[in-house]
Subunit: 132 residues, 3 copies
Amino acid sequence: MRELTVTTDRHTQLLDITSQVRDAVGGASGAAVLVYVPHTTAGLTINEHADPLVARDFEMAMEKIVAEGWGWQHIEEGEENAPSHPRASLMGPQVLIPLRDDGELALGTWQGIFFCEFDGPRTRSVYVTVLA
Amino acid sequence: MRELTVTTDRHTQLLDITSQVRDAVGGASGAAVLVYVPHTTAGLTINEHADPLVARDFEMAMEKIVAEGWGWQHIEEGEENAPSHPRASLMGPQVLIPLRDDGELALGTWQGIFFCEFDGPRTRSVYVTVLA
Amino acid sequence: MRELTVTTDRHTQLLDITSQVRDAVGGASGAAVLVYVPHTTAGLTINEHADPLVARDFEMAMEKIVAEGWGWQHIEEGEENAPSHPRASLMGPQVLIPLRDDGELALGTWQGIFFCEFDGPRTRSVYVTVLA
């Protein structure tokens, strides 16, 4: 298991970490790569990274799907992050990508791996594990 | 593959099953643990289990994200569970957690594994498999 | 890694690919089967495939959860597919199903594997990989 560090700038932010994951795998042989976040207000997804506006659309959409004004019960002093928790779980805590025979991630042409921050700015960890 | 039994009390309920999953893994060596639900109106997620109100917020949020009054077509006699199906899929049928070198689940400080019931109360199964 | 081809007929469509995945696995031994889509406007889920109306309900629900009129920024000439991207990520790019000792997918009684098209009709790829 390798550990990456990711730093986010905004409250809700999708950050392309494809090249960091690819470096962490570094040609290791196996059947698939597990990328995992050990956080409860951040997740991971795979989506288009050619047009950066797709990530901006995600940020807007996740804030609409899970709205601030829903009468949340989880209140932490000085933090207003209750909606961040279900937003993180809707993206999910992990992605799993098959490896090609040549050791490359089997990502599609338009696919990138995104760290999904829902309670930033923060410094975060991402774990990368190769499965046999 | 080990099979756990989970019993839920309410229609929509997040239930912390972290210790049951940890016991099922029991120090087995491998790279990751797959937790899977063989049901179509229940899912799994990983989120904060320090404050139980986070789970209550999820239950509220999932019932708002997928609303009862949307003109559902799937009707079973005596059951009104059409919205339960997409709620389950939004959480997902599985989570996959890396294993540390010492055999411990690589969960973050605040993370717990939750069984997500969307058509309870019921008795349910959860499968636990260690991947190499 | 095996590659399947899937053809969709409608803009938003859940398509049962359970038997195609089962054929691709073909009794290979391992601990779990990873099914993965290399696309950014399609995903995968596991849900009920006994009543086809469950899939129709999903199609309606996903179009309500992520609405067309949200002021999307990602515009491609001749394509209006911005909402398709988050819909795909809400379902997720992969599912992972444990294998029984006899080599069968450990799907529950009512569970089927669905390809989730959000920008059809198109011809699509699905990767199937057995993990140890």
